[in-house]
């Protein structure tokens, strides 16, 4: 009996040890599947190019000499080219699906819905592919090829919408990661400053960081809006290209923000102060009620709150607009009426209560949300999109877990 119990305990320990590693690597595996699907798509495309060349040659031959042998050759070449075309379409859709799976910030229900749609498209393409192969004469081949063409043109719009969404979400995930690092670095600079360290040089890069992050957020907002414009009523290819370009611009600003961050950390390390860049995440939340953040990093209050913000005395607060500040009995400071605010610090507490809450909290620690609203987490292992209610939701910033 004792032996069995010991074995069970050891097995449980092993499961506990392995589980987090598996969780952290889950999406890396899915990214690998995306690259596999992408390679298959490119291979299918090359194969189709060969088949298209043969069809064009057979067509030229038929037009030069319209005999039975050339017609048979042309029919066969047309069927092969069509089969290959359908295959590229199928591989294209497999690739779109794989990328969606490798974008964990897309909510699961939306992901499942998109999977269902693509599976239906694939079944229909396969059916049309079969009808081309079974065509008995040239007229039938052309008719079935036309059907395949029309169907592809029709579903391409939806596939572009899906890819636009994936591009925006992939970019957003990265933006939130950079936000989390920026929060950690800013909190560390503030901590050093509070301890009498000269942080002037580090702070000189802060402006550059904020400017680039602001531009990145703005471009991503434009990309998100543009992604909603990919529709039948507009030039969807043009709308899609704009999403792609805006996402690229967002990325460019993020890379410049990273340069500023690296400069800050470089100065920090040169002067003998290190920093940990792991165990951090971001939460975005909108709604009414109360938010309590305990931890290290930043809380950005993006809009005027009909209520109050109370921060612990060790936090550094930057406000914009007109408002009131009151020092409370325990030393904490209450802010009211400001248009927006950014709170930075190490081991700080931030209590926000009222209506119209719109925040981004980045760093490490926990955030409790109570009332009504929506939230998204971007942690190192979990991406959760949900609603907060009177029962309350507790988010661990580092992992992104919400309970």
């Amino acid at each position: 009996m004792k032996t069995k119990m010991a074995a069970i305990v050891v097995l449980a320990l092993m499961a506990l040890a392995i589980a987090p590693a598996v969780s952290a690597q889950q999406y890396e595996g899915e990214l690998g599947e995306y690259y596999e699907a992408r390679n298959e798509y490119h291979a299918a495309y090359s194969e189709w190019q060969g088949a298209r060349t043969q069809f064009n040659q057979a067509l030229t031959q038929w037009r030069g000499n319209r005999n039975n042998q050339n017609m048979t050759q042309l029919m066969n070449a047309a069927k092969t080219a069509c089969a290959n075309a359908a295959n590229v379409m199928l591989k294209n859709m497999e690739m779109v699906k794989a990328r969606i799976d490798a974008t964990p910030s897309i909510p699961e229900n939306l992901r499942n819905q998109i999977h269902g749609e693509i599976d239906n498209y694939m079944s229909e393409i396969q059916a049309k592919q079969l009808r081309v192969q079974n065509a008995g004469d040239d007229q039938q081949v052309r008719t079935e090829a036309g059907e395949l063409n029309r169907y592809w043109q029709q579903i391409r719009i939806r596939l572009k919408q899906m890819t636009g969404l994936t591009m925006v979400e992939s970019t957003n995930m990265m933006l939130q990661r950079v936000e989390a690092i920026a929060a950690r670095v800013q909190a560390r600079i503030q901590e050093l400053k509070d301890n009498g360290v000269d942080t002037a040089e580090m702070e000189s890069h802060l402006g550059e960081l904020h400017l680039n992050m602001e531009q990145a957020r703005e471009k991503l907002g434009e990309a998100r809006n543009q992604a909603g414009q990919i529709s039948e009523n507009a030039n969807y290819s043009e709308a899609f290209r704009m999403v792609q370009n805006q996402a690229r611009e967002t990325l460019s600003y993020m890379k410049q923000a990273m340069v500023a961050l690296k400069n800050m950390v470089g100065v920090m390390r040169q002067s003998g102060h290190s920093i940990t860049l792991e165990g951090i995440g971001t939460l975005t939340a909108q709604g009414d009620g109360s938010v309590r953040m305990v931890g290290t990093g930043t809380v950005e209050v993006k809009a005027l709150i009909e209520g109050t913000i109370i921060v612990s005395a060790n936090a550094s607060v930057t406000t914009s607009g007109e408002g009131d500040q009151t020092t409370l009995g325990d030393g904490s400071i209450q802010y009211q009426g400001y248009d927006s605010a950014v709170i930075v610090g190490t081991d700080i507490t931030v209590d926000i209560s009222g209506n119209g809450i719109d925040i981004v909290a980045s760093g490490t620690g926990t955030v409790n949300l109570t009332g009504s609203g929506t939230y998204s987490t971007f942690g190192e292992s979990d991406y959760v999109e949900g609603t907060w209610t009177g029962n309350g939701v507790m988010v661990k910033l580092a992992t992104g877990q919400a309970t």
């Binding site: 063409n149 592809w152 970019t171 050093l192 102060h273 290190s274």
Partner: protein, 79 residues
């Protein structure tokens, strides 16, 4: 105690210890919070990981569209 069972337990225990060690090594961080000096030991540089992810995103966003109608319009047209 049954020898086979003992061997199984020993193997499982070794795997568990190695797994814990490997996973902990990936994330080991010791930080003092005196505001002056910090000792940090991480297996991976946080910036390097983000740089890799940004490069991956760049590759994805630069993916050019290959597809028009894959020649199906030509096949459906006049021969």
């Amino acid at each position: 105690m049954n020898k086979t069972l003992l061997t199984v337990i020993a193997v499982v225990a070794i795997v568990a210890v190695v797994s814990v060690a490997v996973y902990s090594g990936m994330n080991m961080t010791t930080t003092s919070s005196n505001g002056q000096t910090t000792t940090t030991t991480t297996a991976a540089d946080g910036f390097a990981a983000i740089d890799d992810q940004l490069s991956e995103l760049e590759t994805y966003l630069n993916e050019e569209e290959l597809n028009g109608d894959f020649g199906t319009g030509d096949i459906a047209g006049d021969w």
